[in-house]
């Protein structure tokens, strides 16, 4: 069973981007990539698993080091074509402990175990005869094979490579692991599906899974972004004060804390996004969320019973409090057992008498006249968009980033704001929620769902 799924060994000359290709195809940022040849020393498998079942596996391998020596060993005996793979197996068997051929043994092993060959060359450098020995060896294995031309540099020798590779490989394709987007990845998988008839089905299945995987990531991202927006826009910090006015120092400290908290929320969201997209090692040259010109003190409010002023008036607790004591309140309640409209009268009275007086009252021995200063929610109309565009931009960058490309992500504010222009229709729905949150209300689940859906749409369009 375990032998059934298709395998593909990515092989080639040293330092031509084999590991880069594997990293991008497997969405794995842990693959060692370096400018130094000989970085990869052991074969390593990258299975695509769905619920624990492997659909196919990629193998990263070291580059050829002594191809001519091996080819000459293979050719020492006259071998008919149908026996050549056995000759290769014999080579591996006989040289397993020979350190001279460790790299070749590592790279040939998956192939003689049935892996298809993905041969990687650098199409930005001229073709050379020194490649011929290794291509010969690959032919001896008799496995299905394709060549991938990777363009490491801007120079172009693709034409001559195609001529040479076409003689040894079933298929020749171009693939750039540093720039490949999702669509190109899928196209490559489609080519791989054609390599061998028995594999087609499973590789096609893998393509479906990759698409599903991508959707899952976008779903998770839109959930996360929505949560970030809700948490940030509804963020409040309070601190109780003595007397009637807060001191400047107190205000300053609270705003500092508030900014800190906002940035932390964003930082955490970015981290989780990086995790969703398997890009945890990626660095970010970040421009901090700038909050300098935004008024953080939106409203000053006192609380009673842990409820906000609005809530109090709406629910009528204030009304109850007006009658003087909670016990009264309870009795008033039970005398209305049948549900008369008197309750509404009491409740409404709270709104009539206003809130200030109520806040001074003592209820059931709890002093409720405490004063608080509160920072947030930020009322600034553009603030939600500053936040949203930043996180969308980050998601877009990280989602489109092939895993071989490990350059920093730059969060340039002016660029970010320019990058995203949202449609009026989209904005309207977004606004609905922003306004609610900024008022200090909790949005309904349905609205949150709608918001999430919009973010999903925006991301789908921007993640190729």
């Amino acid at each position: 069973m375990s032998q059934e799924y298709p395998r593909f060994a990515v092989v080639g000359h040293p330092n031509k981007g084999k590991s880069s290709i594997v990293s991008t195809l497997a969405h794995d940022e842990s693959v060692h990539i370096s400018t130094l040849p000989g970085t990869t020393t052991k074969q390593r498998s990258y299975p695509l698993k769905v619920d624990g079942v492997t659909l196919y596996a990629l193998y990263d391998t070291p580059g050829f080091q002594r191809a001519r020596a091996i080819l000459s060993w293979l050719k020492q005996e006259e071998t008919p074509a149908h026996k050549r793979v056995d000759r290769v197996k014999k080579f591996i068997y006989e040289h397993r402990d020979n350190p001279r051929y460790q790299d070749e043994i590592e790279l040939l092993e998956p192939i003689i175990n049935g892996a298809g060959i993905i041969y990687v060359v650098d199409g930005s450098k001229p073709y050379g005869v020194e490649y011929e020995a290794e291509m010969q060896i690959l032919l001896w294995t008799g496995q299905p094979s394709m060549a991938l031309i990777n363009l490491i540099d801007t120079t172009d020798y693709v034409a001559e490579w195609k001529m040479a590779l076409g003689q040894h490989f079933q298929m020749v394709r171009l693939f750039n692991p540093m720039q490949a987007n999702f669509a190109q990845h899928i196209t490559l998988l489609e080519s791989m599906a054609q390599l061998k008839e028995e594999w087609t089905e499973l590789v096609k299945e893998s393509i479906k899974i990759f698409k599903l995987y991508q959707q899952q990531k976008i779903t998770y991202s839109s959930e996360l972004i929505t949560t970030l927006i809700i948490d940030s826009l509804s963020l409040t910090l309070t601190s109780s004060i003595k007397g009637t006015q807060a001191t400047k120092a107190q205000e300053l400290q609270l705003t500092q804390e508030y900014k800190q908290k906002l940035r932390l929320l964003e930082e955490e969201a970015h981290h989780t996004l990086a995790k969703i997209w398997n890009h945890l090692l990626l660095e970010k040259s970040s421009q901090l969320l700038l909050l300098e010109n935004i008024d953080l003190f939106s409203k000053e409010s006192e609380t009673l019973f842990g409820l906000s002023k609005q809530e109090l008036i709406a629910t009528g607790v204030a009304g109850g409090a007006l009658t003087g004591s909670g016990v009264d309140l309870m009795l008033a309640g039970s005398s209305l057992m049948l549900g008369s409209t008197l309750g509404a009268v009491i409740g409404g009275a709270g709104a009539l008498f206003g809130y200030k007086e109520v806040a001074q009252l003592k209820i059931l021995g709890h002093k409720l006249g405490h004063k608080y200063i509160q920072v947030g929610p930020i009322q600034h109309a553009n603030f939600p968009y500053i936040l949203l565009k930043r996180v969308l931009y980050y998601t877009q960058e990280i989602a489109n980033r092939p895993h071989a490309n490990r350059a920093k992500i730059t969060m340039d504010s002016s660029l970010i704001q320019k990058e995203f222009t949202l449609e009026t229709k989209t904005k309207k729905t977004l606004d609905k929620m922003h306004i609610l949150l900024q008022k200090g209300d909790r949005p309904k689940e349905k609205l949150v769902e709608e918001y999430k859906q919009l973010i999903y749409q925006i991301l789908i369009d921007r993640v190729e």
Partner: protein, 456 residues
């Protein structure tokens, strides 16, 4: 389902807020319970049960159930007592004057109808968080106060979808208990004493008009219990006028007849204050259950998604052996070349290119060799065999040095000194880039062989 839906909801809420569930864990659970995948509520409940041990004691659900129990007991007792007292007050009869049945009738038919209309209105807006009609309910207040004395963190209860329905349901139950108490008082009063009912009003209502009204009230049972439908005669005879302390003499004559009213009053209580409320109670229970289902699904949406979505992984399962730190070392380099070398060798470079470079560098040589590339190893060996003194060795700087080359270089350097000249591409005017040169330099330096120098 073994436990109540409310408990399921609250436990789920607490689990989801406090427990971080990875996709992998959820999916594993989903696959292990694949028979439930089409029944999300059951699936979530199964998951809840599997996670219960993670909740701190007492759990939210335990605490909330405790609060609810206290509230329920307290309000049921109050409501029952209140019903008893109200009934006793309304049916208070000392034989001086008959009881005006209008008060009682109002309490057992008009008030229930009005409150139920309010309840219906409240149902329409039951899903709103700020529901003024809900805050009318006494249960609301009792709970608020009880909550104040218990724990604050049970914000869960703020879910209007559930708490509103729950409040409605329990308010209605209070009404039922209250009415039941009144009914008991009525029946007990009728059994234990003789009561005379009468009716009187300041309004100008003729007995005929009053009869019509009462017939309308009695409509639901006029077929089933005709005895409980007051006749016009009864109405006429029990109209009561208070003129000073004088009692209507006709009224006194009919005391026995006036007792007949109790049947009508009892039926009104049963039908309006009880049956109608019970029906509404049934409807609200259904609505409550639906709201709970809805809330549970909403709450468990993400975790259900994780349970249902296949778990995909693409990465390597093993850690890659860490990179060995690169030992940088310098190799003696030379900037200038001699005018002539006895041997010039090109590694995988064809003869015309070698000649081109010789011309470029104005180098004279007697012998040009091509090594590597398509040569066999024997051919390379033959080249080495002929060489002594110094050799200039051209290599392609952009191709990394393979061990194949290193083998050759080692053999060569044992026979002669070697000037290794990495050539760049045409685009770079045959100059190696710094990086390319560094790669070659590093490789050569590892050989620790001082017969090799590099041309830069």
């Amino acid at each position: 389902m073994s436990s109540s839906l409310l408990k399921t909801y609250i436990d789920l809420y607490q689990l989801i807020k406090t427990q971080d569930q990875t996709h992998e864990e959820s999916r594993r659970f989903g696959l292990a319970h694949s028979n439930l995948l089409t029944n999300p509520i059951e699936l979530l409940d199964a998951w809840r049960r599997s996670q219960l041990h993670l909740l701190p004691h007492p759990s939210y659900s335990k605490r909330i159930e405790d609060i609810l129990f206290r509230v329920t007991t307290l309000s049921f007792i109050l409501s029952f007592l209140f019903g008893i007292f109200s009934g006793m007050g309304l049916l208070y009869y000392n034989g001086d004057a008959p009881i005006n049945l209008l008060y009682f009738l109002t309490l057992v038919s008009f008030v229930p109808i009005i409150t139920m209309v309010f309840t219906l209105l409240a149902i329409l807006s039951a899903n709103k968080s700020k529901n003024i009609l809900i805050s009318i309910s006494p249960t609301y207040w009792i709970e608020k106060i009880v909550r104040h004395f218990s724990t604050k963190e049970i914000e869960i209860y703020y879910n209007p979808l559930i708490s509103n329905w729950l409040l409605l349901k329990r308010s209605l139950l209070l009404g039922i208990i209250f009415s039941f108490a009144i009914l008991i008082v009525l029946l007990v009063s009728v059994l234990t004493k003789d009561i005379a009912f009468s009716w009187s009003t300041t309004l100008q209502i003729t007995p005929q008009e009053f009869h019509t009204l009462l017939l309308a009230i009695a409509l639901p049972w006029q077929e089933l219990v005709p005895q409980a439908v007051p006749s016009l005669e009864l109405i006429q005879k029990s109209q009561y006028f208070r003129l000073g302390n004088m009692l209507n003499s006709q009224l006194l004559d009919n005391t026995m007849l006036l007792g007949e009213w109790w049947k009508f009053l009892a039926m009104s209580t049963i039908v309006y204050a009880l049956l109608l409320r019970i029906a509404l109670f049934g409807f609200i229970s259904w609505g409550y259950k639906r709201a709970l289902y809805h809330s549970i699904l909403l709450l468990g949406k993400d975790i259900l998604y994780q349970m249902q979505e296949p778990l995909v992984s693409t990465q390597a399962l093993t850690k890659e052996t860490p990179l060995s730190p690169s030992q940088e070392a310098e190799v003696p380099t030379t900037k200038s070349l001699q005018q002539s070398y006895p041997y010039v060798i090109g590694w995988a470079i064809d003869e015309s290119t070698i000649q081109l470079h010789n011309q470029r560098e104005a180098i004279e040589t007697a012998i040009i060799y091509q090594a590597g590339g398509n040569n066999s190893l024997e051919e390379d060996q033959e080249i080495i065999d002929t060489i002594h003194t110094t050799a200039l060795l051209y290599v392609k700087s952009w191709e990394p040095p393979t061990m194949d080359f290193i083998d050759f270089l080692m053999d060569l350097s044992s026979k002669s000194s070697v000037i290794l000249y990495p050539l760049g591409t045409i685009e770079n005017h045959y100059m190696p880039t710094d990086e390319e040169f560094a790669i070659w330099e590093r490789k050569v330096s590892l050989l620790k062989n001082d017969t090799i120098r590099m041309k830069r």
